[in-house]
């Protein structure tokens, strides 16, 4: 290829590449200053290169001339746009720089005017030179313009170089590449201007390649260093274009084969085949496109998420209340998978300690896990409280740049930035809840408006890493995530409450089990207590019997022993003495009489005691025998023991439990009466007392029996309880037939509350036994029944 052809090629290529680049930037990059500046810069280069090509290739002088004018118009503006772009890029638009820019624009504008309205001053003419059909002939002011051009360009480069040197890391690389690109471009540009002065050495004629190189380097910078935020798009488009090309070629192959086959074997006319192929291509085009989008989605993430569907899915995902751990994992999983984020984690505020504990975490390399816990006065948390908005790392960087003057604020912001870098976070999203739910049962609105009604609490912090598609987070994204975070805060609160409820239920279950255990133990204890009491009673019975029988038995034995071993012998001696000496035996006779009296006394006592034993034994054994109203001698003490036992039996499970019974009956009191009836009376009275004391705490029944002080032939029995007592107006009526204060219980046996008890008792005691029964009571203190019964006459059997 000839140099001229190179020249043309490079020029047109430059125009094309830059054109595409500019289109991309204008259409896709976010609307920042930078994009605008690049837009202008790029466009001016496009124009320039296009008209350059046009000017140097057209064969008509006039066209070339016009093109030349236009190309210079663009060329005049290039350095200004370049400088402007550099200044915006470096963020150095302060007063001095602005002044410089204004000078540049101003002076360039003058030349622009000259170019448009007095072009001959700048461009003398176009003439063939150096193999071009036509090329520029410089005018008188041309060199001044070149000078201005150079000054501005150098100034721009100087600033750029400064920018490179003053930065580090990624930013430095980025700036360096751009600088290099520009240098190459302008060096190349020199090659373009050389023919003006008929200079034909290097970089001519390959100079335009330099400019082309500049474009390519810019593209690379964009992709590699995220120069302008279209790197992903560029990437994607390249990949997509490649794949599409591949797919289309397959389609072409297929249709080509079909063509050939059809043509060969079915002799279909060619136009039919072409139409057919076109149809096939049309039909499958959309399908192929969609298919490609799908399969490249994993790599290119072309599918933009629709905000509404994301939100709907998110709401669904977190609406299900489960444990906190599960919920936080679900949220993070959602973010990572559906929202295509590389890594994410959440810090959840712990109610009690106020610290933020790391919840679910996903996508981080294991050895680079961020902090497990944040204290509640952590810098980031305080900053979030202040700003109450999501923090995005680049906006934060911008903020730091802007706040260079305020040292204090800057340090704080720097530290937040550091934190974000450590966590590899792109965005921090706080979620606040309005009211702290720490009062149980608060279901209604607060009636009183509290002072701190505007109190909001930070509940959790969502930390999002980079998007998988490497795109930046747009404002829309941030809004959506913020809403999501708010929703999740509510869900988290629910989950926390749910966890609490689960825990409390578990504790309740534990307590219930313990209670059940205790209950079982209690029942066992109760059973053994009943047994013990029965034993105790039996012991009591045995004691009573032992005592009741042994005492009289002692008398019998003692007296009989004396009689047998001593007195009878003396009797015999005296009788022999008297019979031996009938006359002088007055003394002996007197002694004998005395002795017999004593013996009589002994025998009487023995007899009485024997009868007592008999009565006691009868009292015990006649329980089961139907006495048919027989009256006999009964041991009062044993009788009462029996009565107590019988009452225990008749109150079933209650067993007279919880009631202390004190028996204070003299053991030698024998009463004359009928066993069955007396038992009935005593049981009735004891039972009444027990049931009346249902609500009394320390129930006590005291039964005492002794000789009636006013009548020695009667026994007096007192049955006292410490129950609620009977009011004085009710007292006279208790003996009446049908009087009752008891409500019939469903499962009670016997004549509960039929009102027969006391009526019958009175009849038995008074009519049958010829005794007396009375009742005294003090409300609040207790009731005492006084029974008088006749003493059994032990001597009744011998006249």
């Amino acid at each position: 290829m000839t140099p001229i052809q190179h020249f043309h090629l490079s020029a047109i290529l430059t125009a094309l590449v830059n054109f595409i680049l500019v289109i991309f930037v204008i259409k896709r990059a976010p609307a920042t200053q930078l994009k605008k500046r690049f837009g202008w810069y790029g466009t001016s280069i496009v124009f320039w290169s296009f008209f350059l090509w046009f000017c140097s290739s057209t064969l008509r002088a006039h066209t070339s001339d016009i093109a030349c004018q236009l190309l210079h118009g663009a060329a005049i503006l290039i350095p200004c746009f370049f400088l402007h772009f550099v200044l915006v890029y470096l963020n150095r638009l302060d007063k001095t720089e602005k002044r410089a820019l204004t000078i540049a624009y101003g002076s360039s504008l003058i030349f622009l005017m000259i170019d448009l309205f007095a072009p001959r001053l700048l461009l003398a003419s176009v003439a063939p030179k150096l193999g071009f059909p036509y090329y520029v002939e410089p005018g008188p002011l041309y060199q001044y313009w070149i000078f201005l051009f150079a000054v501005i360009v150098l100034y721009g480069h100087a600033r750029l170089l400064q920018g490179v040197l003053s930065s580090s890391g990624n930013l430095r690389q980025q700036r360096l590449f751009f600088l290099v690109g520009n240098v190459l471009g302008y060096l190349g540009g020199i090659g373009i201007f050389m023919p003006v002065y008929n200079l034909a050495f290097f970089p001519f004629p390959y100079g335009a390649y330099g400019v082309l190189l500049f474009s390519l380097v810019t593209v690379y910078t964009i992709i590699r260093f995220r120069f302008i935020e279209i790197d992903v798009l560029v990437k994607r488009t390249i990949v997509f274009a490649g794949l599409f090309g591949m797919a289309m070629s397959i389609v072409a192959i297929v249709s080509g084969i079909a063509n050939g086959v059809m043509g060969k074997y079915f002799s279909v006319p060619p136009y039919v085949i072409s139409v057919g192929s076109a149809l096939i291509v049309m039909l499958i085009f959309d399908f192929v496109r969609k298919y490609l989008v799908n399969i490249t989605d994993k790599f290119l993430f072309q599918k933009q998420f629709k905000l509404s569907s994301i939100m709907a899915q998110a709401s669904q995902a977190i609406a299900f209340v489960q444990s906190l751990k599960w919920l936080s994992r679900r949220i993070i999983a959602f973010l990572v998978t559906k929202c295509r984020i590389k890594h994410a984690m959440v810090y959840i505020c712990n109610e009690q300690s106020g610290r933020f504990i790391r919840g679910a975490i996903r996508g981080y390399p294991v050895d680079r896990y961020p902090l497990e816990e944040l204290p509640d006065n952590h810098l980031v948390i305080r900053y979030l409280y202040e700003s109450r908005r999501p923090i995005e790392i680049r906006r934060l960087e911008d903020l730091i740049e802007k706040n260079k003057s305020d040292r204090m604020a800057q340090t704080g912001l720097q530290m937040v930035l550091e934190f974000m870098k450590v966590c590899q976070a792109q965005v921090l999203i706080p979620s606040f809840l309005r009211r702290r739910i720490d009062e149980p049962g608060v279901g209604k609105e607060q009636a009183v408006v509290r002072e701190k009604d505007d109190e909001i609490i930070l509940r959790n912090i969502l930390i999002l890493g980079e998007k998988k598609s490497d795109e930046q987070y747009t404002d829309e994204d941030l809004d959506m995530f913020y809403t999501l975070a708010q929703e999740s805060a509510i869900a988290i609160e629910n989950a926390r409450l749910y966890d609490e409820a689960v825990e409390k239920t578990r504790l309740l279950g534990m307590i219930n089990r313990e209670l059940a255990d205790t209950n079982e133990k209690l029942q066992v204890t109760q059973a053994s207590l009943i047994v013990a009491e029965k034993n105790a009673t039996m012991v009591g019975m045995a004691q009573a019997i032992g005592h009741e029988v042994n005492n009289p038995l002692t008398t019998v034995l003692m007296r009989v022993d004396t009689l047998y071993k001593d007195k009878i012998k003396r009797c015999r001696d005296l009788v022999e003495k008297i019979s031996a000496q009938p006359q002088g035996s007055t003394e002996a006779c007197q002694k004998l009489v005395k002795l017999t009296v004593s013996m009589e006394d002994d025998l009487a006592r023995a007899s009485r005691s024997a009868h007592r034993i008999n009565a006691v034994v009868h009292t015990l054994t006649d329980i089961l025998r139907d006495t048919k109203g027989e009256m006999g001698a009964l041991s009062l003490r044993v009788l009462f023991h029996e009565a107590i036992e019988a009452t225990r039996f008749s109150t079933y499970e209650e067993n007279l439990a919880g009631c202390e019974i004190k028996l204070d009956v003299a053991s030698n009191i024998m009463i004359h009466g009928n066993l069955e009836q007396l038992l009935q009376v005593f049981v009735n009275l004891i039972k009444n007392a027990y049931e009346a004391m249902d609500k009394t705490k320390e129930r006590k029944i005291v039964i005492s029996g002794d000789l009636d002080p006013s009548d020695s032939k009667r026994a007096r029995i007192l049955l006292a309880d410490n129950g609620p007592g009977i009011p004085s107006e009710v007292l006279p009526r208790i003996w009446g037939q049908g009087f009752t204060t008891k409500i019939r219980q469903d499962n009670s046996l016997g004549a509960a509350g039929q009102g027969q008890g006391l009526f019958v008792c009175k009849h038995m005691i008074e009519s049958v036994h010829r005794g007396a029964i009375a009742c005294e009571s003090v409300v609040g203190k207790g009731t005492t029944f006084i029974i008088k019964l006749p003493i059994a006459d032990m001597e009744v059997h011998y006249a």
Binding site: V539, A542, Q543, G546, H547, V549, N550, N551, P552, L553, T554, T555, L557, M558, R559, D561, T562, K565, D566, R605, S609, D664, A666, S667, N668
Partner: protein, 130 residues
């Protein structure tokens, strides 16, 4: 003259044993009531006390026994009962009586005499002036 006190809720037994103790050269006072017993203890020196554990009064046999031991530490104290209850036995053991009679067995005239004599002999050996 040696004094004895006899406390039992059976009057018969009191009378009977009184005769026997008087035969052993004791001056005997008897009562069925614990309170009266306490009064009697205060009145003159007691050398021998026979106390039934089952008394019908508020003052129990054990109370009487303890009172005697306090007031007349040198007295011989014998407890009596119609019913052998292990619990009661232990308590009297703790109280430190010199003998334990079970009615009616130990109270039979012959048995009674022997036992009393034996107990008194034993106490003599323990530097007891009788």
């Amino acid at each position: 003259m040696l004094n004895a006190i006899l406390v039992d809720d059976e009057e018969d037994i009191c009378d009977f044993l009184k005769d026997h103790l008087e035969a052993l050269d004791f001056s005997v006072v008897t009562t069925v009531s614990g309170e009266l017993a306490l009064k009697m203890i205060d009145q003159k020196e007691i050398h021998l006390a026979l106390v039934d554990l089952r008394l019908l009064t508020a003052v129990t046999g054990l109370d009487v026994i303890r009172c005697v031991q306090q007031k007349w530490p040198k007295a011989v104290v014998i407890a009596m009962s119609g019913y052998v209850d292990i619990g009661l036995r232990q308590e009297t053991g703790k109280a430190g009586v010199h003998g334990y009679f079970v009615k009616p067995d130990d109270v039979q005239p012959s048995v009674f005499k022997e036992k009393i004599k034996m107990i008194l002999e034993e106490n003599k050996k323990k530097k007891f002036v009788l």
